[in-house]
């Protein structure tokens, strides 16, 4: 595997650590951190700073009952939550979003496919599958767009992006990413553009291409 050269910038990592990032972007960061030791270390450093804030930003007395309640619950049985492990090119956070199942691809034509993982008015995140030589579809964004490579690679005016690399783009960046020769390029792409059709549109009328 080639070295990851495009990482998560510090301000985004701080926002992710604090839980301030909208869910589509948070999924991209969580997935990148699962693939990149450097960003895992960065994540831990931000946690340490968060811990320093926790230690020093003031105390509020807790009620007497709280401690006895907690101590009484230590031995209570707990339902274990499912942990979804990396499967193929999909790290744990993506498998969690897929609830452990394989992606359900929908064709966008010319061999390009997508699988929407989540979407609402705040933004959306999807998997994209792009055969060599095809353009990565424009996922329509007004603000920040994050694209993480899971398999293969793509190139555009700004550079080359291989497995683990994240491209950050804002609305001012005119770019046309093209999948390189080799295995099909699979990406995780998050955008703040809402899915175009609201849920009240009858299912039959919804276009196949929600992009």
């Amino acid at each position: 595997m080639t070295e990851i050269t495009h990482h998560i910038p510090d301000a985004l990592m701080a926002a992710y650590t604090a839980g301030s990032l909208p869910e589509p972007y948070a999924l991209v960061v969580a997935t990148h951190v699962s693939m990149c030791l450097e960003c895992h270390a960065s994540y831990e450093a931000h946690q340490a700073l968060g811990g320093a804030v926790l230690e020093t930003s003031g105390e509020a007395a807790v009620s007497e009952a709280l401690k006895s309640d907690v101590l009484a619950l230590l031995d209570a049985p707990v339902a274990s939550e499912p942990v979804y492990k990396r499967t193929g090119v999909y790290p744990g956070p993506i498998m969690t979003a897929l609830k452990g199942r394989a992606p359900k691809w929908k064709s966008l034509g010319l061999g390009v496919r997508q699988c929407i993982l989540s979407g609402n008015a705040e933004g959306s995140v999807r998997l994209l599958y792009i055969p060599p030589g095809q353009a990565v579809p424009d996922h329509g964004h007004n603000g920040l767009e994050m694209t993480l490579v899971l398999q293969g690679s793509f190139s555009d005016e700004t550079g080359w992006f291989g497995v683990g690399d994240v491209e950050l783009a804002d609305q001012d960046l005119e770019h046309t990413p093209i999948a390189d020769a080799g295995p099909p390029c699979i990406c995780l792409a998050a955008t703040d553009a809402p899915l175009r059709f609201n849920s009240f549109v009858p299912r039959l009328l919804q276009p196949i291409f929600r992009i």
Binding site: A14, S20, E38, E59, A61
Partner: protein, 197 residues
């Protein structure tokens, strides 16, 4: 309160570890309830204060504190003193829980690093991490009030989306590849922000 921590198998290996780390290791390795009780006494008031600062009422804040402390007990096996300070580890659990409560959604979390699971990491690495975290804490304390407030705002999760997008929320430089280097760098960044000494 008084408590007795379980005898450590080899005290020499834990020389220089903070009290919080020793409590957490006793919870992780011996399921020591006295050590957990001590952790509770230390962290519960801080957690409640921290959570209330982000706008939650006292009653709901205590519910979150309860969930966080129970998670500390139940997921203790994931604590690795070679990679995380107890405070940083608990900070992340608390923020995740707050997001779950506020947004009714699970925050996507990275895969755990399972290297050296359950085994004691190099003691000097743990001590080095403790020292750097202490220095980081001191550096935070020496910041000018408005700069300190900005850092606190960021880690309380109060940056606006615009501040996040424009990346003006935090004046921190690139963090290097290992957490120790990362902490060192963060500390210097904080130091560079200081203008009053």
């Amino acid at each position: 309160m008084t408590y007795v921590t379980s005898p450590d198998p080899d005290p020499a290996d834990t020389a220089g570890f903070s009290q919080e780390t020793l409590w957490m290791l006793a919870v992780r390795d011996q399921r020591d309830k006295a050590a957990f009780s001590a952790l509770f006494d230390h962290f519960a008031p801080r957690l409640k204060g921290f959570i209330m600062r982000s706008g939650m009422g006292g009653g709901q804040a205590e519910e979150v504190v309860q969930e966080v402390m129970l998670t500390v007990w139940r997921k203790a096996d994931l604590f690795d003193p070679g990679r995380a300070q107890v405070s940083g580890w608990i900070y992340q659990i608390a923020r995740n829980r707050q997001i779950d409560v506020i947004r009714k959604e699970n925050r996507p979390v990275p895969e755990e690093l399972y290297e050296d699971q359950g085994s004691m990491p190099d003691a000097s690495q743990v001590v080095g991490l403790e020292q750097e975290a202490n220095e980081l804490r001191q550096a935070l304390g020496r910041l000018k009030p408005d700069q300190r407030e900005m850092i606190e705002k960021a880690y309380l999760g109060e940056l606006t989306h615009q501040e996040i997008k424009s990346q003006t929320g935090l004046p921190l430089g690139t963090i290097k590849s290992r957490i120790r280097l990362g902490l060192e760098r963060l500390r210097h960044e904080l130091k560079d922000m200081r203008t009053d000494d």
